[in-house]
């Protein structure tokens, strides 16, 4: 998201978004793009690190 997108989001939130129907509509759109269709899932531990990458290799 860039600043322009964020401004558009906020304008929507503060205008049409005050009406529950339009707020839920936005939610459905965001869920679709951020969660359902995105490869990079919008969750706390998504795009995290894997601790196993730091495991020392056994000495030969």
């Amino acid at each position: 998201m860039n600043s322009f997108h964020f401004l558009l989001l906020r304008l929507y939130n503060l205008s049409l978004g005050r009406i529950p129907f339009f707020s839920y509509l936005l939610k459905r759109v965001m869920v679709y793009f951020l969660i359902k269709s995105s490869k990079n899932k919008y969750t706390a531990s998504s795009r995290y690190f894997d601790y196993k990458e730091f495991k020392r290799k056994e000495a030969d």
């Binding site: 906020r10 939130n13 529950p20 969660i35 899932k41 969750t43 706390a44 601790y51």
Partner: protein, 306 residues
């Protein structure tokens, strides 16, 4: 060392961090708010209700009697709990809902999770009439998230808590409806639907809420559903509590332990092994927003085992 002490120790190590989130100034309009980006840095234009779940973490540590817990029966902690409850109450919309990601969101998830923390805290302190929760309860009854099991599980438990607080049967009916919908969301393989698929991390959250519901309202249906869920998840968890997130619907790497403490102690042992070596995701690794509910779960796991 008592086995579940590791959960308490990890949770307590994060308590100073959580306390740092709180606006403690009694003269401030945002007194009781745990969303520091909102009340202090002002980089956010609304307060995320999920941060108010910290109220439950404070409430739990208030009642845990352990030599390592400096917060036991602290009057300061109690005051801060009620400040947090008050802010949550004031920050709601007129329909009782709350926001998590943007203003006027009226989000089922943040309403259910934050209201659960609020109602559980009120039950712990025995303050049944402290807050007006009717509108929030009615909002939760009216709305559903039939594609996200963990949110439905939380909604069900919150409605049960509201029933315990108010004695109003409509909340018990709402709880039964939510629970029935939740159990229908279980796939044949045992996992609960999370946006159309299986995710071990969010299943562990659902399992935790099932454990809490089972404790308050035991039933064979809940136990059977939970055991089926556990039977599926535990195949994906290695001996040190690690799960590979690839291929899951939400790509989570965390596991909430409470459900396993109730329904599959063997997995709890695996988690403890990983935590002792600090090689699996735990609250100390998570960002400010998500460490709070996991800390509450760790505290509840300790309480369950003590």
């Amino acid at each position: 060392m008592k086995d579940e002490l590791i959960f308490l120790n990890i949770a307590l190590s994060q308590m100073p961090r959580i306390l740092g989130f709180l606006d403690k100034n009694p003269h401030s309009k945002t007194c009781g708010c745990f969303d520091r980006c909102y009340w202090h840095y002002k980089t956010s234009d609304f307060s995320n209700a999920r941060f108010q779940e910290a109220v439950l973490a404070l409430s739990l540590v208030y009642f845990i009697d352990s030599p390592t817990n400096h917060f036991y029966r602290s009057s300061t902690i109690k005051n801060w709990v009620f400040a947090g409850l008050g802010f949550w109450s004031r920050a709601r919309h007129s329909d009782g809902s709350t926001d998590e990601s943007y203003p006027f969101e009226r989000h089922f998830c943040s309403t259910a999770f934050s209201c659960y923390a609020i109602t559980e805290s009120l039950l712990l302190f025995g303050e049944k009439g402290a807050l007006a929760l009717g509108k929030t309860g009615d909002f939760l009854i009216r709305h559903n998230r039939l594609d996200v099991a963990n949110q439905m599980a939380c909604g069900a438990l919150t409605l049960y808590n509201l029933y315990e607080l108010t004695g109003d049967n409509k909340y018990h009916k709402g709880f039964e409806e939510k629970l029935s919908s939740l159990l229908k969301m279980q796939a044949k393989d045992g996992f609960f639907m999370e946006y159309g698929g299986f995710d071990a991390g969010y299943d562990s959250i659902t399992l935790s809420f099932l454990a809490l519901i089972y404790k308050k309202n035991p039933s064979q249906d809940i136990e059977k559903a939970a055991l089926n869920c556990v039977k599926n998840i535990e195949k994906f968890i290695d001996d040190e509590g690690y799960i590979y997130p690839g291929g899951m619907s939400r790509n989570t790497q965390f596991l909430y332990p409470l459900g396993f403490a109730q329904f599959c102690p063997d997995v709890l042992v695996r988690l403890k092994r990983g935590l002792e070596k600090n090689i699996i995701l735990n609250p100390s690794w998570l960002d400010d927003r998500y460490c709070i509910p996991m800390i509450c779960n760790y505290l509840q796991t300790y309480i369950k085992g003590s």
